[in-house]
Symmetry: C2
Subunit: 242 residues, 2 copies
């Protein structure tokens, strides 16, 4: 992801092959990188929404506060992901976004997206694909949160991280960094931190997964996928026919 291979081009290329020209168009979108620090809030729910951004390095998450002061984590963003695209048609941010680590982001004005729509039907299709993929992740999570046990939820989330990281880096091993605390995992899973801890302890005892401060080691990928009832289309290539 150097200067000539922009983050956004990298991300879009998951959904279809890019021509040199298309790549240049995407590269031209991005402003210079901005450095942000762990814990920093990129924007709050309700803020005016005029841009989205790409995440060069580091993890982030979007969240909403509930009436009782608790917090729910809606999405996680991994290096290379696009953040805030879905808010394009809204005047206001629908959720807050905060950084899990020090990171580098690049802003893109929403109106630049309209330029894309005007200039390139193909890139437009790819934008749609990016957005639809995120929506697919969301609905998958919806299914997995609403009616599944704590074990299944935890297994699913860990496996989701695994498979999304693997999509960006085919050489990823079974041991990788996941910079969420148990409190944050709990906020993403709709569980109490205590119960997340118990579940992870059980998984460790059973030889499924080991987790310690920021790292996850998947001991038995197949068993984890089974436990999480992972169906698989998140892996499938989502290439557009054209």
């Amino acid at each position: 992801m150097g200067q000539q291979e922009s983050c956004i081009a990298q991300h879009f290329s998951h959904y279809g092959r890019l021509s040199e020209n298309e790549r240049r168009q995407l590269d031209a979108l991005e402003a210079p990188a901005t450095v942000v620090t762990k814990g920093q809030v990129l924007w709050h729910e309700g803020d005016a929404a005029r841009n989205f951004c790409t995440l060069g390095l580091g993890w982030a998450y979007s969240f909403r506060y509930l009436a009782d002061g608790t917090r729910h984590i809606l999405e996680t963003f991994l290096p290379g992901d696009v953040i805030g695209l879905r808010e394009f048609p809204f005047q206001e941010r629908l959720s807050s976004v905060a950084m899990l680590e020090d990171a580098e982001i690049r802003l893109v004005e929403h109106r630049r997206l309209v330029d894309i729509f005007r200039d390139s039907p193909r890139l437009t299709s790819l934008c749609f694909a990016v957005s639809s993929y995120q929506q697919a992740l969301l609905s998958e999570r919806l299914v997995h949160l609403s009616r599944r046990s704590a074990r299944q939820r935890v297994a699913y989330l860990l496996f989701e991280f695994y498979s999304r990281l693997k999509r960006n880096d085919g050489a990823l091993g079974d041991c990788f960094r996941v910079p969420l605390s148990q409190q944050q995992l709990a906020d993403a899973l709709g569980l109490s931190p205590v119960h997340v801890s118990r579940t992870l302890t059980a998984f460790r005892r059973e030889g499924l997964v080991k987790r310690s401060r920021g790292w996850v080691h998947i001991l038995d990928p197949q068993a984890l996928a089974d436990e999480g009832c992972v169906t698989g289309y998140l892996h499938e290539s989502v290439l557009l026919v054209d």
Copy 2:
């Protein structure tokens, strides 16, 4: 929604004013109406995805089967809604869709969407808006399902129906049709049908909501919104600046 005011134009006009020309373009998308019957499955998860459709009359829902044979309802579709747009970049259906009532649908080939992308940046933006709004409904539901009590979930879902119906029909009163059985409400809420029944009984006793086979009567809209922790942006106009 007669012959000249197509379902899809009607739907899109929620997101921005349509010119006569744009309206014609949208109208031209739709094939003649197809009649479908209650319980009919439009498509199954995993089927090839080559088109989407608009729902002229009647309700529908999308769902996934879980490993244990239970079912989760992901989305509900009301008259005027667009079904299956989010699957545009996927080769396969991500979820099944079934009818809650006898209804009328109109199919649109996915490749016609590419025509729109090529011919009209503005309609493209509106497509994006439609898709993003559905995504917003999904993420709102995600928040409301993962960490809220049964009372809050039920209240939220009923209020969501109320506000979505009201968006299509400003004159809607407090009493309207909701053709989901308690079993189906349970499948959408991630609760057992028994508990849905208890919760609805409690609401009736408290003078919040009355429900009987296919009808909902909201007795105290404000109290229901409070109980469901409805925040409000689903009502907001989502107009594009342009």
